[in-house]
Structures are given as structure tokens and as C-alpha cells.
């Protein structure tokens, strides 16, 4: 019996101790007419060898691509040590650290993680993770509304925030009667239109500020933060944590010495040591100013001392959470993404401040080089003028689906088609080149795109197809 250690003799002895005649007798409180006759619809058991062969076959069927997709999930090198340590049974098979004395490993790691994230974002406190960047944004919206003493239930959510994040936030807050209001972007620069903000009527509890935004462009975060505060709103940053190794941390956003910076920062921790994994598990992070700590959702670890005065770590401020506060909890979240935070902490510790910054700089440089190569082609142009981090938008003069399909046939995932979220950008592609890309990778993309464009635009193919895959 897979994973069940009982011998026939064990079963007999145990039933005897219970005073039951059979295993079936243990279910005698279930009304008879509800009994189902087993699970015949589920396929028969496979041995580990057989399921291994099946899984390997399916993985091989999917293969590998040279990917220039970003749009919220990024390919980065992850040091081998990260997942070897994460996969240790003591981390992998431990429970939530409610029994603090038996969980000091996980608790100390989380405290270190909170320290790293607070510093990276320039804010005071961090929780121990949420599900992903999108749900973290939804939680930040709920938090800002809770913190609003005047009872304002409206939050400004610019159109340059990841479309999926906006969809998730909408799904998660609408039942509480909270209104999310879009803010248009400037068509030339690709960043939130400050002039449009000025004419937005009505009050709001918060303004969401992405950095970089969904187009990879860098927003004018200082002006946006100051604008939010001048209008009695909280400033909620949505940031790529890797970019923050290079960019001004949200806690310092704003001009002059009077600014208090963004109030809350959220985002997806995937770029910090988490594989793409077809979409998850990733983890959402959230940091905030100290004054908002009791409004935060999710677990938090605090440092304290034991009976002998020796330092140790515990889950703290649990009275905010569902297992104590029930209907009045700050969130219903219980399970979080602890193991991914374990990976991120080890990843950040291995890279250090300089390593992380170099990854950010290399990604930025590779994307710059890619954009330069691509816009040198006839029929390709850059769309937005703003500086960008490691993603940018290009426009092509033949249909985007055709371009991407033709690239895919050559083993290249050419980027994200923006038309499904922004109809006015139907001829545009969001491209990303992280530090994992070599000069050769970038050149392959350029050559293949050139060949596709020339063919469709009626010129002779100048470059032979490449069997990258």
C-alpha cells in the first residue's frame, strides 16, 4: 500500500484495541445512503517508476524556448544552493511555526527576510508573505481603506498597473463596496498622466504607483507620491523587488525633506530566486510604515527573549489574524507562501547588495541592447519615450500574432502581445531580456524578426531560419 506502513497484524491488533470488527465499521456514523462505492473514476495506481516516465515524457513534450517574455514573471539565474537548501525536509515538511520553540529555524529565517524586504523597499515593517503580487495589491487596497478614518472607499488604480493585478484587485475588493478608479497614461511617454490625475474628481483613500510600470517604464514616483499625500491619500507602491536594488526605494519617494515616502509597498517576489514554474507558486510581499503595522494582513515574526533571556523568535501581532480575530481579522489569509520566502531569503543572502544590483543592471543593459537591435529593423519602432528598467514596448508593422507565431516556430518566445489588455496597442509587443540572455540570444531574436518582417513586407529573406529549439 503506497505510503501506508500497516501490516495485516497491525490492522488486526488496532481494530481489536478499538473494539471494531473491520475498517468499514469505523465509518458507521456516516448515513448509509450517502456511501459512495469507492473512486472508480480515478485511474489505477502507478508505481513511482511509471509516474516518473509519464512526467518526464510530458515535460519533454513541452521542451525549452528562448524566452523574451516578462510581463510580471521573469527568468533569472537561481544559484544551485537556493533550492538544495529549500528542499531540505526540515524546511520543506515543517508546519507553520506556531510552536515557536520547535520552529526557530523558520522563524529566524522569516525575521531575516522581513529585515531584507524592509530595507529593500525603504519601509519599516514587512509581513511574512501573501499569495502573489496581485493579491498583495488587493490586500494593500483593503488595508488603505481600513486605515482611512473618513471612511472613503475609493482607490485610484492607474492603467499602467499590471492588467492581471487590476483584475485580481477588482475581484477581491468589489464585494466590500470598494471602488477602483482607473487613471489614464500619457500616450507618448507611457507613464501615468499627472495632468489627468489633477482633474480626477472626488476623494480617494489611496493612489497606487507602479515602479516600473507594466510597460517597463519608470513612473515619476516622487511627484505621484507627493500628489497622493497632498490629497490626503496613502501612496501604495507596486514594485519589482529586483529593480529596487537599483531604483530609489518607495520609502524615500517624494521630493524634499518633508516627504514620508510611500506608505505601503507590495509586489511579487518571484524575481528573487523563484523559478517561473508555469505561473506559481510565487509569493507576494508587503512592507509598510510602522504606523500601519496593525492594519497589515498575514503573519509577522518578532524577536524576543526566552526564560533565560536568550534571543528567539515568535509569530507576533496574531490578534490581527483570522484564527483569533475571526470575522474582524485584517484578512482571511492563513497558509502563505513560506517556502518561496525561504528561497528568496537564501537567494538575497547569496547575491548580496552588489550581486542583486548587478543582476538588475545586466537585465537593464540587455534590454537596452535588445531594443537597440530591434528598432534598427525596418518596420519596428519604440512606442514610449520614458526610461525603462528591463522591459519595453515595440510596435511592428505586421500583425502581432503572426510575428509571435513565426518566432515561436524558431524556438523564440518573442514577448507579450499588448492588444488583449490595451486595444489601442494591438500592434505592440512588450519585450524583456534579463541577465540570462547572451549577445547571441539577442542577435538570434533580431535576425529571426528581421527575416519574418522582410518576408511579410515583401523582401527576400536575408537570414536562414534557425532551429533554436
Amino acid at each position: 500500500m503506497p505510503f501506508i506502513p500497516h501490516t495485516e497484524a497491525d490492522i488486526a491488533a488496532m481494530l481489536d484495541s478499538i473494539g471494531a470488527s473491520s475498517l468499514d465499521a469505523l465509518f458507521d456514523e456516516i448515513p448509509v445512503d450517502l456511501n459512495c462505492a469507492g473512486l472508480g473514476g480515478i485511474p489505477p495506481s502507478l508505481s513511482e517508476m511509471a509516474v516518473t516516465r509519464l512526467a518526464h515524457g510530458r515535460a519533454a513534450q513541452d521542451g525549452f524556448y528562448s524566452s523574451f517574455l516578462g510581463a510580471g514573471a521573469y527568468e533569472h539565474h537561481i544559484p544551485a544552493a537556493v533550492w538544495q537548501i529549500v528542499s531540505r525536509g526540515e524546511f520543506y515538511t515543517a508546519y507553520t511555526p506556531y510552536q515557536a520553540e520547535a520552529s526557530q529555524g523558520t522563524l529566524q529565517l522569516l525575521y531575516e527576510y522581513q529585515t531584507m524586504m524592509a530595507s529593500l523597499t525603504g519601509l519599516d515593517v514587512s509581513n511574512a508573505s501573501l499569495y502573489d503580487g496581485a493579491t498583495a495589491l488587493a490586500e494593500a487596497v483593503l488595508m488603505a481603506v481600513r486605515a482611512n478614518k473618513a471612511g472613503v472607499r475609493r482607490v485610484l488604480l492607474p492603467d499602467t498597473v499590471h492588467p492581471r493585478y487590476r483584475a485580481v484587485a477588482q475581484a477581491m475588493v468589489k464585494n466590500q463596496g470598494i471602488e477602483l478608479v482607473g487613471v489614464p497614461f500619457d500616450k507618448a511617454s507611457g507613464i501615468t498622466d499627472l495632468a489627468a490625475l489633477e482633474v480626477m474628481a472626488g476623494e480617494a483613500a489611496a493612489l497606487v504607483i507602479p515602479q516600473p510600470n507594466f510597460f517597463g517604464a519608470l513612473e515619476r514616483v516622487d511627484a505621484l507620491t507627493d500628489w497622493a499625500h497632498a490629497h490626503a491619500m496613502l501612496a501604495i507602491a507596486v514594485a519589482n523587488p529586483l529593480a529596487l536594488a537599483l531604483l530609489k526605494p518607495p520609502g524615500l519617494w517624494g521630493e524634499g525633506t518633508q516627504t514620508r515616502g510611500a506608505d505601503i509597498c507590495v509586489g511579487d517576489g518571484q524575481p528573487l530566486g523563484v523559478p517561473l514554474s508555469s505561473g506559481g507558486p510565487y509569493f507576494g510581499f508587503m512592507t509598510a510604515r510602522q504606523a500601519l503595522v496593525r492594519q497589515m494582513p498575514g503573519r509577522m515574526v518578532g524577536r524576543t527573549v526566552d526564560l533565560d533571556g536568550k534571543p528567539g523568535f515568535v509569530l507576533t501581532l496574531q490578534a490581527r489574524e483570522q484564527h483569533i480575530r475571526r470575522a474582524k481579522a485584517t484578512s482571511n489569509i492563513c497558509s502563505n507562501q513560506g517556502l518561496l520566502v525561504t528561497a528568496a531569503t537564501i537567494h538575497m543572502a547569496l547575491l548580496g547588495p552588489e550581486g542583486l544590483k548587478n543582476v538588475a543592471l545586466s537585465s537593464h543593459a540587455n534590454t537596452r541592447a535588445l531594443i537597440d537591435k530591434l528598432v534598427s529593423l525596418l518596420g519596428v519602432e519604440r512606442v514610449f519615450s520614458s526610461p525603462f528598467f528591463h522591459e519595453a514596448v515595440i510596435r511592428v508593422n505586421i500583425p502581432v500574432p503572426d510575428v509571435l507565431r513565426a518566432l515561436r516556430a524558431q524556438g523564440i518566445l518573442g514577448g507579450y502581445a499588448l492588444g488583449r489588455d490595451y486595444p489601442e496597442l494591438a500592434d505592440c509587443i512588450l519585450v524583456c531580456a534579463t541577465e540570462t540572455k547572451t549577445e547571441d540570444d539577442l542577435e538570434q531574436y533580431r535576425q529571426q524578426l528581421e527575416r519574418i518582417l522582410s518576408r511579410r513586407n515583401g523582401r527576400d529573406p536575408s537570414v536562414p531560419p534557425c532551429a533554436y529549439k
Binding site: E48, G89, L218, N332, N336
Partner: protein, 482 residues
């Protein structure tokens, strides 16, 4: 010692990142960071040794028996981890076209179908990323259903007082008011109280069955009839689904929406707090409201169902569709067990719980519901022991740690004073259960003879009892360099 205290300025793990990189001279200075973040500067060996040593300060399933009630800490098969981490699965970008991931989709589609079979529901979405996220999804669908019918006066969710805290917290997140109903002396929902609260304001009922008291709700059909006749829908909290796999299905009981904790019933790891996965199942009438994405099969090709496929969907729950790696682990587990093996999960979880309950009772412990059959878990009350010796359930739990057993769940459910909620799971052997009974009896004896020893526990772990009052009063949530 913290990782930061191991660090030295100028030390690098140079193999791990680009050695150097061109300056970002095109970016405006006012957008750049001035001072470096507080990350440690360490060698690879320092980091590996530090976190390996930290891991050794944890209890885990791989190292200790973990009879944590309602948490289902059973063995996490290693093949699930290895196969979910095949390089192609890890490298796949979530926004890559479906054509590039047919192998991956085939696994997910099979899991979706197997979960339908295991639960008797009409359709399943794998999108929710944890149990509480599944609860949110379920209640949001119930709300969408009523709203679509113009039935907007229904704003109350009924929840038994023994429920997990996530149930009432979920109802609040969905903009609903909670009506709590009591439990009777046998551990069942109080039917009269239920009849008294249902009505035109009832949106639905959230119920765990077997309940958190470790007993099967015998009147389940009547309970659901009362709710349905009042116009409400019924939500099944699948936290305890492992107790009834292959014996009775939530769909057959008459539930409209359910979630399944894959990190419990389907043995994906808990990872020190997560990730989990909380797929939802629905009856026919809730199908239009399922969250996106879910896997569709059309002419032998798989793809995600998205916005255009289901106009009434409650929407997206995550940026990229869910905790795929957890779903793959559950797929491997379900394929290895098969239909027969999954039924055995319930059989042997129940056998182990009833055996452990019987042996503990023989050793002089009080069961909270001695006249009831235990499901996969049961409750011991230490009230008499506390009254006699002053040793509380928490002290008792801490002393068990000294004997190398993780503590059972303490102080939940709150209905039973000084309770230990004990769930042995099916993967533990009779010898382990017997050793646990011996340790329990030993701690009881210590409580009676030398109560101070137990009250001061643990004595053998990396730290002694920690001051959580100080932790909350003098918040220290992030290290600061001296």
C-alpha cells in the same frame, strides 16, 4: 546569530551574479537608489552553512511525528517534489502560449478531473492558492449567484461556532455578516438554532464535515435541506476531506461549493507555512461563476479558460493562475495512489485516529466525545489535569516537544476547555503511535508528580519558553545594525 552578523563588508559570493555590469547611465539620477539595501555580504559557504543550521532548529515531518489536529501532517512523497521540479516545468513562462505547454496542461487537466471524481462536484477550478483563498472563491461564487438572480437581500453566512477562523474572516471579506450557531453536546450542529437563523437573509452556510471536533455530522442531509429550503447555498470546507475520501463525497451530501486543501488531503508539503493550494469544486448551478483560469480541452488541445470563455466568472484570483508547482505535486500523488489508494487514505487515517484515541483513553486521558466514533482526528481534554495540577494544555504540549513529538493542536476548537486536537494521519506506523501514547502518559505522570517540570518546558530545544508578550509590546520586526 543572524545572517547579517556573519557578513563582512566587501565579501562576495561571486559565482552567483554577473561579476560586473554596465552602469545605467541612461536613467535619471533622481530615480536611482542612493544607499545599498541591508543585504548580507557573505560567501556561498557561509550562507549554506547558516541556513542548513537554521533548518536543524525546526521540527518537521521528515524528522518528527507531527500529530497536529486539522493540519494533516502526513508524509510528503519525494517523487512529487522531484517530478514537479523537472526543468521544463520550472522554465515554462506562465504567459507562454498553450501550444508550448500541452504536457503541463495534460497533468493539470487530469488533476482537475480526478478532483471532480473524488468530490462528486460538477466542475473544478484549480485557481485558488490556499484553503482560505478557496473559501473566498466559494463564498464569492455564492454571492455572484444570488446577485445574478437579483436576490440581493441575502447578506448573511451561517457558521458553526467550532469552525476554523478562516470561515468567518472569509465571509467578512465577501461583504457578508456572520451568524454563528452553537454545537450541541454530541458535537453536532444545533438544528434548532440553525432553523431559528435561516431565512430570506441567508446567503449560505459554511460547514466542515467531519467537523473540527473530529466527528461526522450525522444530520448533514437535514442541515443542507434546511439551508436550501431557506434559499441559501451550502459551502463545504474541505479541511477534513481526507477523512472521507472514497467513503462519501461532498457532492453527494448536497454541497454547492467546496474547496480542497491539497496540502492536506493530497500530501503536498506545508513548507513552514505554505504554499498550499485550494482548488474549488461546484455544483451545476455555480458553474458559470467559476474563477478563471481553469483548464479547457478542445479537440485534443488544452488551454486556459479566460475572460472571453465565461462572462459571469467571479474573475481572477492571482496574476498567473495559481500555485502550479503544488498542483503538479498533487497530480503525482493522486496518480501514484489511484482511486483505491485514495480511499485507503481515509481508511487508515481513521484507523490510526481511533486506535490512538482508544489507547489514550486506556492510559487515562479524557476524550471530548467518548461516545462518538473519531474521524481522522479527535480531541483530548486536559481540564481535569489542569484543575488538579495547574498544568495547562500549552504546558503539556511544550513538554511533548522534549520527548521528540510535535505538539498536537492546542486551544482549538475553543469549545473544549484545555483541548489537544490530535491527528495522526495514515502514514504513521503502529509503533510510532504507541511511542506517542507512552510519551503522553509520561508527561501526565510528570504533571501529577512534578508539575513545575512541565510548566517550565521545553528544556531540550534551542530556546526555552519564549516571551510573546514582550514580542508584542516591544515590536522588533526587523534587525537594525548597531
Amino acid at each position: 546569530m543572524l545572517i547579517f552578523e556573519h557578513a563582512q563588508t566587501g565579501r562576495r559570493a561571486h559565482a552567483q551574479a554577473p561579476y560586473d555590469a554596465p552602469a545605467a547611465d541612461d536613467l535619471p539620477a533622481e530615480l536611482l537608489r542612493g544607499t545599498a539595501p541591508l543585504l548580507p555580504e557573505s560567501s556561498e559557504l557561509d550562507v549554506v552553512r547558516h541556513y542548513t543550521r537554521l533548518s536543524q532548529k525546526n521540527f518537521s515531518i521528515d524528522t518528527q511525528f507531527y500529530p497536529l489536529g486539522s493540519c494533516t501532517m502526513k508524509y510528503n512523497p519525494r517523487a512529487c517534489n522531484t517530478l514537479a521540479m523537472l526543468p521544463q516545468f520550472l522554465a515554462r513562462h506562465p504567459l507562454a502560449d498553450a501550444e508550448t505547454g500541452q504536457g503541463f496542461f495534460a497533468c493539470l487537466h487530469e488533476l482537475q478531473e480526478m478532483l471532480k471524481q473524488a468530490t462528486g462536484m460538477a466542475a473544478v477550478s484549480l485557481a485558488p492558492m490556499a484553503g482560505a483563498h478557496g473559501e473566498f472563491t466559494g463564498v464569492a461564487m455564492i454571492r455572484a449567484y444570488h446577485d445574478a438572480r437579483g436576490d440581493t437581500a441575502r447578506r448573511e453566512i451561517i457558521i458553526p461556532d467550532a469552525a476554523h477562523g478562516t470561515n468567518p474572516a472569509t465571509a467578512s471579506m465577501c461583504g457578508y455578516t456572520v451568524r454563528e450557531i452553537p454545537t450541541d453536546r454530541q458535537g453536532n450542529v444545533d438544528l434548532e438554532a440553525l432553523r431559528a437563523v435561516v431565512g430570506p437573509h441567508t446567503a449560505g452556510l459554511m460547514l466542515t464535515n467531519p467537523s473540527t471536533l473530529g466527528v461526522f455530522e450525522k444530520a448533514i442531509v437535514t442541515i443542507l435541506k434546511i439551508v436550501h429550503e431557506a434559499g441559501g447555498l451550502a459551502y463545504y470546507d474541505g479541511a477534513n476531506l481526507n477523512a472521507i475520501l472514497g467513503r462519501v463525497r461532498p457532492g453527494d451530501m448536497g454541497f454547492d461549493a467546496i474547496h480542497i486543501n491539497l496540502h492536506k488531503t493530497f500530501s503536498t508539503p506545508h513548507g513552514g507555512g505554505g504554499p498550499g493550494a485550494g482548488p474549488v469544486g461546484v455544483s451545476e448551478r455555480l458553474m458559470p461563476f467559476l474563477p478563471i483560469p481553469y483548464v479547457l480541452e478542445e479537440r485534443g488541445l488544452y488551454r486556459w479558460a479566460e475572460e472571453g470563455d465565461c462572462s459571469q466568472s467571479i474573475g481572477r484570483l492571482s496574476a498567473f493562475g495559481g500555485n502550479m508547482g503544488v498542483l503538479l505535486r498533487a497530480w503525482v500523488y493522486a496518480r501514484m495512489l489511484g482511486g483505491v489508494g485514495l480511499r485507503r487514505v481515509a481508511d487508515f487515517a481513521t484507523l490510526n485516529a481511533n486506535y490512538l484515541a482508544a489507547e489514550l483513553q486506556k492510559a487515562g486521558f479524557d476524550l471530548a466525545f467518548p461516545e462518538r466514533r473519531a474521524s481522522h482526528e479527535f480531541i483530548v481534554s486536559l481540564k481535569k489535569l489542569k484543575d488538579a495540577t495547574g498544568v495547562a494544555a500549552m504546558d503539556f504540549a511544550k513538554r511533548l516537544l522534549d520527548y521528540g513529538f510535535h505538539a498536537p493542536t492546542t486551544y482549538f476548537p475553543m469549545l473544549v476547555p484545555e483541548c489537544l486536537l490530535i491527528e495522526p494521519t495514515e502514514t504513521e506506523s503502529k509503533e510510532t503511535l504507541d511511542a506517542f501514547v507512552t510519551a503522553m502518559a509520561k508527561v501526565k505522570e510528570e504533571a501529577e508528580m512534578t508539575p513545575e517540570l512541565v510548566k517550565g518546558a521545553p528544556h531540550t530545544l534551542p530556546v526555552r519558553r519564549l516571551d510573546d508578550v514582550k514580542a508584542a509590546r516591544e515590536l522588533d520586526l526587523a534587525w537594525k545594525p548597531v
